[in-house]
Chain length 337, copies 2
């Protein structure tokens, strides 16, 4: 398999992408290749510090970069030689089998929709993130691909995330909750109420009803479905807490410790925070496109990129897309006869 | 002033409401009274254990209770003798000047809208919560009164929360951010984009643009405006984190401490968590109604109820409603000439 990486996308590109590609070596089979797309001289300079990289890495030049703040569709139109545009063009031409990017999420979603198209039966692709919790990962979908979804979209995010969590992470019959503002049926907005009706009628989803924000952390569900606006607010909030609140609390605890003992706490704290580190999960798949597209956090480190390669390999090995088509088709039959 | 409290609403009613009313004594002036509305025999039995309560507390009987899971409008209609319905009926009749409830939030909002009506110029009331952060409280509005708002509603939540934060908590010229999924203007859904245009054109709001979830904790804004669905998800998420994640982390840190030292951490941890304790802030005002309505968390303890009485007194002392009418009128002139 040939796995393409947008080497210019992330906050510390291309160094992180190059390190990630090198680190991915031990995940690859003999005929797998990583293709780094971006500024060729810069990429070769970084790679040449490592002997033997040519055995599993290729470089494809792209002369432009799409910035994090650019308008996605406009940027793709005006920068056809950007690393993002070239990467997805390569997928369209059959030159890579999967795409990974830590760049502008909106541009990545737009490029994937244009160049990969949708799987049969899928209305709109959605991003599924695995959020680390004390009870293991919880899948949240959508977290930003679709900020104005219809109920049919949310229903499919539940189905697709269930497939992903069950086949890639071995969670049996994942419990799917619908993010709302109370467990009762009367709570929520119109979107939630209409989605709930669809979920209830589809026996291919293990739907447990409405969940609230607190249910992300208490082990009561495996998949949380929400619109992309809410999902994106939630993950940014979690990042803010991990970065700011937890770190400041651990520092304050360390400060009240006896002299010399503060480091024990800081060390323990770092180990604990690692549980909540998204780099461990290696990026979020854009589920529903006819291909494999993994979106990494802009500030992913090399482990995040390496693990994204792992997510690609696992997704293909376990036939995630084939299973999605199958389950959506079963659901359609149940809903519409 | 006569301050009415729904004594049957909270998770541990009426004991908590009675304790809170008793604790509020030192906040009251000589002619202030607290009126507890609920099961009179039960309330008197609890009160009679405390000498002298009759000097500042009155009891009004109400024979029914609205449960947390009941449909708000339906419950108010079928339970006219519920503590919630009777409390707001008393406000309507001029028998109390303010209403406090830790009960069914939806029912409280519905009762307030029906019985207090709106302030002149207000489109829809919204709940403003003060979220404790390491940089001091951040006001979030709306957190559940209005799950399908129009841009005009969100704009007014920004104005009303600014007034509340500035006059009650002394924050000068509060910085108002609009919750979105990126700082750039191109980000967000249609509601966000239309609200941003209104905010920008109103000089009576110190609007700083889009904010993200992480900005709740980094001290970059004082007021966060969002739709009631998103706001409610956010506060439930924060509760889940405070209850679950932080506690488990502190326990884990304590476990790796030398024998006998774990208690130091637990003690320090409790003190730190108190910073994030909503009981300190005493409930959330429903801003925009023609009256003073404070909604407490269902699991508020007696400090939460006592501090809600404090919020009522501060709101009235600083003429929050008069200032809201004034500022909304200024904004209207700026927007429409």
């Amino acid at each position: 398999m040939r796995i393409g990486i947008d080497a210019m996308g992330g906050d510390s590109a291309p160094a992180t992408e190059v390190q990630g590609a090198l680190a991915a070596k031990d995940l690859l089979s003999a005929d797998d290749r990583v293709v780094l797309v971006g500024d060729e001289p810069a990429l070769r300079a970084l790679l040449d510090a490592h002997a033997g990289w040519q055995e599993y890495i290729e470089v494809r030049h792209a002369g432009q970069i799409i910035g994090m703040d650019e308008s996605p569709v406009e940027a793709l139109r005006t920068k056809p030689d950007s690393s993002m545009a070239v990467l997805f063009e390569m997928h369209h031409a059959g030159e890579v089998d999967a795409c990974i990017s830590a760049g502008n999420t909106g541009a990545c979603v737009a490029a994937a929709q244009m160049r990969m198209r949708r799987l049969p039966g899928v209305h709109r692709p959605g991003i599924t993130i695995l959020m680390p919790t004390g009870h293991g990962p919880v899948a949240i979908s959508d977290v930003g691909a679709n900020v104005s979804p219809r109920p049919q979209h949310l229903h499919q995010y539940g189905v697709m995330s269930s497939v992903y969590l069950s086949v890639v992470r071995g969670v049996e019959n994942p419990r799917v909750g619908l993010m709302s503002i109370g467990e009762e049926d009367v709570k929520g907005n119109l979107l939630v109420k209409q989605t709930r009706d669809l979920m209830r009628r589809d026996p291919s989803v293990n739907f447990i009803g409405n969940v609230e924000g607190r249910d992300l952390f208490n082990g009561s569900c495996d998949v949380v479905v929400c619109d992309g606006f809410v999902g994106n607010v939630v993950i940014k909030l979690m990042e803010g807490i991990a970065e700011g609140v937890l770190t400041s609390i651990l520092n304050e605890v360390a400060a009240v410790m006896p002299p010399g003992k503060g480091d024990v706490i800081k060390h323990a704290g770092r180990a604990l925070l690692a549980k909540y580190d998204y780099n461990e999960y290696g990026g979020a798949p854009l589920l529903g496109v006819n291909g494999t597209c993994i979106i990494c956090h802009g500030s992913s480190d090399h482990r995040g990129i390496k693990n994204a390669v792992g997510v690609v390999l696992e997704s293909r090995k376990h036939h995630v897309n084939e299973r999605i088509i199958e389950l959506l088709s079963q659901g359609q039959k149940a809903l519409h006869g």
